[in-house]
């Protein structure tokens, strides 16, 4: 369903891949990792990835790693994203997990199926000070869903920073005499929808904005209490925000998700000049620049009196606890987050997870939109932790559809609240039971 789609759009972009033990000789290396090929026996690491994540960057990453460590061979296997988590879990149950993979479930971390990487950070001197703090946090539950830190330990290190942001077309703003927004603070949801309606030109087939469902755009505190245990989906704040967003779709200022999915097609439509603004992932810079769009980047809109929030993620490559080659597997993780970051900038143009790398590689390159993106992402903050979140918001998605269809926002969200609370209670009960 829709929320799982977003989970995919976010996580999977992140969940690129993984791997494990392989077919070729599985001998243990004879010396400390990082040495030259002459002093090591050959090692094969199985790396399981999602088909969706098997891109040219991944190929370049593996190629680069094997060139640097000729005694380590990466055996890449791709699975359809929908089956990826199950494949890994089945392999774990069979006692033969891959050496490397991507984190697709928090339970893996909680149950010790993934190795912490804190020792690697220390031993390799990886400087995390310039990493985005929403991914590499130091408190419990910081962005546990898409990040790398969980309950005080680090389980993955990324090669890029994915984030939900707003691309906007500066030329359209100028043509309508609207002052472009600053990267931060964000527009309120009212301002965002009003601006979208002003920018909309139905004759030219231009939507002023595209944003999908509120629950994928607004801070999670719009629908949930700060401890994540109480549903407040029918609070005045939520009711107003949902009403405004539904009105934007009803009035044709933004497409419904049935017509256009901002996560899948947002960058394409924006590149074609068919959108004034789009809330989507900040990963399509090259495409937009190639299309010659004069774009800017700003923070996602927020609901009244709710602290702005920016969803972030990365490629959550990790080392599975069952590996016979933890040292070599960790070498790969270290390579991925150091040289891999640079490779990714060259191959895909994605934003590095480290501002130091962004500066060093001149990632922004004087392009205003990229400069603005770099000003947006430091404002990312920890998310409310809700176990199995996407399975608790089904009623909220349904409520928004009803509101778009003409039902009163208060009524639809009043109806949804007990359902969300019931799902939330169930999710917490399962989580607390461990």
């Amino acid at each position: 369903m829709r929320w799982q789609r977003l989970a995919s759009a976010l996580a999977v972009v992140a969940v690129i891949g993984a791997g494990c033990s392989g077919g070729s000789p599985k001998t243990t290396s004879s010396g400390p990792p990082g040495q030259t090929a002459q002093s090591h026996e050959e090692v094969t690491l199985d790396f399981w990835v999602t088909e969706e994540g098997q891109d040219e960057f991944l190929d370049a990453l593996v190629k680069g790693f094997e060139a640097k460590y000729p005694y380590i061979h990466i055996n890449l296997t791709a699975f359809p994203e929908d089956n990826y988590g199950t494949k890994i879990e089945t392999a774990i149950a069979a006692g033969n997990p891959p050496d490397l993979g991507a984190i697709a479930n928090l339970r893996w971390l909680r149950e010790g199926k993934v190795l912490p990487l804190d020792d690697l950070v220390k031993s390799d001197g990886i400087d995390l000070s310039s990493y985005n703090s929403s991914i590499i946090g130091d408190t419990t539950h910081v962005n546990g869903e898409f990040g790398c830190e969980f309950q005080g330990k680090l389980y993955c290190l990324g090669s890029y920073l994915g984030a939900v942001g707003v691309f906007y077309n500066k030329d359209m703003f100028e043509a309508h005499g609207i002052t472009p927004p600053a990267p931060y603070p964000p527009m309120s949801i009212d301002q965002f929808v009003d601006t979208a309606c002003t920018l909309t030109d139905k004759d030219k087939g231009i939507w002023g904005g595209a944003y999908g469902y509120p629950v994928t755009v607004l801070p999670w505190e719009t629908e949930f209490s700060e401890d994540g245990r109480e549903a407040i989906v029918n609070s005045p704040t939520a009711v107003h925000a949902y009403d405004v967003m539904a009105k934007g779709i009803r009035e044709g200022c933004a497409p419904s998700l049935s017509t256009m999915d901002p996560w899948e097609q947002g960058a394409d439509y924006f590149s074609q000049g068919k959108l004034g603004m789009v809330v989507t992932d900040l990963q399509s810079f090259k495409k937009i620049e190639k299309a010659g769009i004069n774009y800017g980047v700003t923070f996602p809109p927020t609901a009244d009196s709710v602290e702005p929030f920016l969803q972030t993620w990365t490629d959550t490559f990790c080392v599975f606890a069952g590996t016979e080659h933890p040292d070599e597997a960790k070498l790969f993780i270290a390579y991925q987050t150091t040289e891999g970051q640079r490779l990714r900038v060259q191959v895909t143009g994605d934003m590095p997870i480290s501002t130091a790398v962004a500066d060093k590689m001149n990632w922004a390159g004087g392009i205003p939109g990229r400069e603005e993106a770099l000003q947006v992402v430091p404002h990312a903050r920890p998310a409310v932790f809700i176990p199995n979140r996407w399975d608790t918001v089904g009623a909220v998605f349904e409520a928004f559809d009803k509101i778009v269809g003409g039902e009163s926002a208060q009524q639809a969200l009043d109806d949804a609240e007990p359902k969300v609370q019931a799902d939330l209670d169930k999710a917490w009960k399962e989580w607390d039971a461990g």
């Binding site: 369903m1 829709r2 199950t86 149950a93 419904s256 998700l257 049935s258 199995n388 559809d401 269809g405």
Partner: protein
Amino acid sequence: MRAGDRLCDEVREGGSLITVKARGRRSGIGRLARREERSAYLFLLPWLGGLLAFWIVPILWSIALSGSDWDIISSPHWVGLANFKEMLFDDRHFWLAIRVTLKYMLLSVPLYMVVGLLLSLLLNLKIRGMNVFRTILFIPSVLSGVAVAVLWVALLNPDVGALNEVLRAIGIHNPPRWLASPTWAVPSVVLIGLWGVGGGAIIWLAGLQNIGAQLYEAALLDGAGPWERFRYVTFPMLTPTLLFVLLTSLIDAFQVFDTAFIVSGAQGAVGDSLRFYLLNVWYEGFQNGRLGYASAESWVLVLAAAFVILLIFKTSGRWVYYEYDPERER
């Protein structure tokens, strides 16, 4: 002495039938039969192995799992009837999935049967080119369910879909939002399924063509009109087909997955409105990692479906008419 006489003698002497058979097995023909029997089992072995490994054992295993909290990656713990208790008293999604599935069943089964029957009556007419019409009608049934679902997602798009464009053109300014509307989502899936009703119509057609012409001739001689011929000849003679179509339609309705998965996972419907029972089982098992709970839910479905099917079989004696019924002959 002929072989038959020898057999009779042995029976007369008190040899039982089993004895006779046992003696027969020692004959040349018996050895051949035994060899054939062994060969048959040998040929069947791969299939039996598959049946055992991929059906029987998993089915038995799922019974055991339904009483556990297995999540694949950790060892299962026995929880007794806790899974069943949870689904009955503490799981909104379980009841929601039942409601969605029942709604679909109530809408789709009668509709598909009636439309299939009407189409088959048309297809049974003796006109030129009928085979072409039959082929056209059957084509949607052989298309991939996924492809059909994707096609219909586009057709039912509330904003730019062909169906709503037509509805707007004829003056319906606020047409349904179909898959994007919690109210219309299930009827939309029923509508998608209706496109493949040609498959069912072919079964009805086979039933129609098995009705003897003499029955219609007799009815005509008795002065029966078209309605009377349908009411007193066609329909009673079609009741065995009706039983078959009813059972398969109900089983299909219990098993809705692919269309719902595609239309809710790709484009269109969201939220809880298309949480069909099997989809819910899949979510619990493979998204939430609760294989034990999902197994328990699966068994509830099996028992519910078995109950409905047995009920229909039990009552079928009262409304299904067989032209040749060995039971009645006796």
